[in-house]
């Protein structure tokens, strides 16, 4: 597939994953409202009212509109949680990695600054600010939710090993993340993930929630975590009983409601893992997309291929870069090569696709590999 076809494919896959995610969230949220809070679609009920003037009781048909509070509140809490990451993400990320602005007096850093300017022209974007991370392991990342307020940072280790062509490939990959609004996308996804985990935490009594809180303390940025509410609403399971009673009102036989309830419970328990898997799948798609867009910007996929090979062969984790921004880097900074191991866990949970697959895709763009 050429550079344009690969971009279309990746964008399409992203949309499919997002739709799945939203449906998953709606299933959980509305199920929560239905089974736990006893929400039901608009019902007509008979209400008795007392009229003091004539001192009589009469029956009135009243329309009750139930609002799915659980879903709405979870969504709002998730948005608030990710809002802080949205506004402060760039500042926090730069501070946590110890990055400093590139110095035009140093010849290597001047070359890097020049390359950032060139690729910004090729992308039609305002020039991002160039930062250097003082780490000997080669890696790079981009951050900033707005196109005119972004940052591209590379480690000193990267500047030492790359030639100009390879450095241009790496900078183009990071510029692609900015151009495709990937930071914005991933920050928005954390809002959904936060909402999902909130609902899950409420139902399972905080067990899963506490696990998520532990993740946050390890420095998950700018995905701001949500603490699960302890002591959930397990007692509200009583509401499920009456829900199945009211199942008749919703027009479905009770055994269907019971099956749906069981499915919903399973999903709730698996929710944190499922939402992580979905987020990581989106992250991998965006990495492929960034590779394809980088090839379009430089019109030189070989530069990026040789850059990736050099970066992967330099073993060792990039300690300065926390795992919270792993999805924004060019390879996983944890250095555990999770994406290289075969098996379901790494296929689903890795932030980046395996290197060989990325190189094959790039070679297809350079017409050096059939199909792919």
């Amino acid at each position: 597939m050429n550079i344009y076809e690969q971009q279309e494919e990746n964008k399409k896959n992203t949309v499919i994953l997002l739709v799945i995610f939203v449906c998953f969230f709606l299933f959980l949220g509305l199920g929560f409202d239905f089974f736990i809070l006893g929400w039901n679609v608009n019902q007509t009920q008979l209400k008795s009212t007392y009229d003091p003037v004539t001192a009589t009781y009469s029956a009135k048909v009243v329309e009750q509109h139930f609002v799915p509070f659980g879903t709405i509140i979870a969504l709002i809490v998730g948005c608030i949680a990710s809002f802080s990451g949205y506004r402060n993400g760039k500042r926090l990320v730069l501070a946590s990695t110890g990055a400093y602005p590139a110095n035009p007096e140093d010849p290597q850093e001047k070359i890097f600054i020049n390359i950032v300017e060139e690729i910004a022209i090729a992308a039609g974007l305002p020039k991002p600010v160039a930062y250097i991370v003082p780490d000997p392991d080669p890696n790079a990342f981009a951050t900033g939710v707005d196109q005119d307020d972004s940052v591209i940072a590379v480690t000193r280790g990267l500047l030492d090993v790359m030639n100009r062509e390879e450095l241009a490939g790496v900078v183009a990959h990071e510029m692609s993340h900015i151009r495709n609004y990937d930071v914005r996308l991933m920050t928005t996804l954390t809002a959904l993930v936060g909402a999902v985990n909130l609902i899950s935490g409420l139902v399972t009594g905080g067990g899963n929630g506490r696990g998520y809180y532990r993740n946050r303390r390890r420095g998950n940025m700018p995905a701001v975590g949500l603490a699960g509410m302890p002591g959930g609403l397990g007692s509200r399971f009583g509401g499920a009983g009456s829900a199945s009673g009211r199942g008749g009102a919703a027009g479905m036989p009770p055994y269907v409601m019971a099956i749906l309830f069981v499915i919903w419970i399973i999903m709730i328990i698996l929710a944190p893992m499922l939402s992580t898997i979905l987020t990581m799948s989106v992250s991998r798609q965006r990495e492929y997309l960034a590779d394809a867009t980088a090839a379009e910007l430089t019109r030189n996929p070989k530069g990026l291929i040789s850059a990736l090979e050099k970066i992967y062969s330099a073993t060792g984790p990039t300690t300065s870069i926390g795992k919270g921004i792993a999805h924004l880097c060019i390879i996983d900074p944890r250095g555990s090569y999770m994406e290289e191991r075969s098996g379901a866990a790494s296929d689903l949970m890795a932030t980046h696709p395996p290197m060989q697959k990325r190189i094959l895709a790039l070679k297809a763009m350079a017409y050096q590999h059939p199909g792919a």
């Binding site: 010849p107 001047k110 060139e118 022209i121 992308a123 039609g124």
Partner: protein
């Protein structure tokens, strides 16, 4: 009745967004065309100044180096046995060498080699900028033309006054398409 109203509103919104999209792209195309000239002017203004600055550095060092070479030649041409003359010429050589040492110590970063490297990088950078700005112009032209020509926008595009833009290309038979000959011999 309500349905037809909704349909009309939806079509109206679609028409508006299509028109605005085409206007934005047309302006982007015009901007991209002018950006090429921005880079060309930058090259025109910057490179001659850089080259003369480097030449000046090289000349400054070259003069000092020449004096050293001359002093050394003079010292070597002294007839053997003429100690006074030799001492005088060696003294001049020492003085010239001293000036060279002082040059290197006072301005350690102004070695001509480094200046030439900086000039090379700046030349590469300038040419890359010009190339990328032409590439971007062609990319955004293509995007604009494609957007005008797909269905159903193509029905309205020419009505609203949009026409396809020309991409940048070298004129037919341009010598710039030839292979460049690199000749490093003296």
């Amino acid at each position: 009745m309500i349905v037809s109203l909704i349909v009309i509103v939806v079509i109206g919104i679609w028409l508006m967004s299509m028109y605005n999209g085409l206007i934005t792209l047309r302006n982007n195309v015009a901007n991209a065309l002018r950006q090429i000239d921005v880079q060309l002017k930058r090259r025109h203004d910057l490179i001659p100044n850089l080259v003369s600055a480097v030449k000046g550095e090289m000349k400054f060092e070259q003069e000092t180096l020449e004096k050293v070479v001359q002093a050394r030649a003079a010292a070597m041409s002294v007839k053997p046995g003429n100690m006074k003359d030799l001492a005088a010429k060696e003294g001049e050589l020492t003085a010239a060498l001293g000036r060279l040492m002082m040059l290197k110590e006072s301005y350690p970063s102004l070695k001509a080699n480094e200046e030439v490297n900086k000039l090379m990088e700046e030349l590469t950078h300038t040419e890359n900028q010009i190339g990328f700005s032409r590439q971007f112009y062609n990319d955004i032209c293509t995007k604009f033309n494609t957007k005008q020509q797909v269905f159903p926008t193509n029905i309205f595009a020419s009505m609203l006054g949009f026409k396809p833009e020309e991409l940048w290309e070298l004129p037919a038979g341009s010598p710039e398409r030839e292979n460049v000959k690199v000749d490093l011999s003296f």
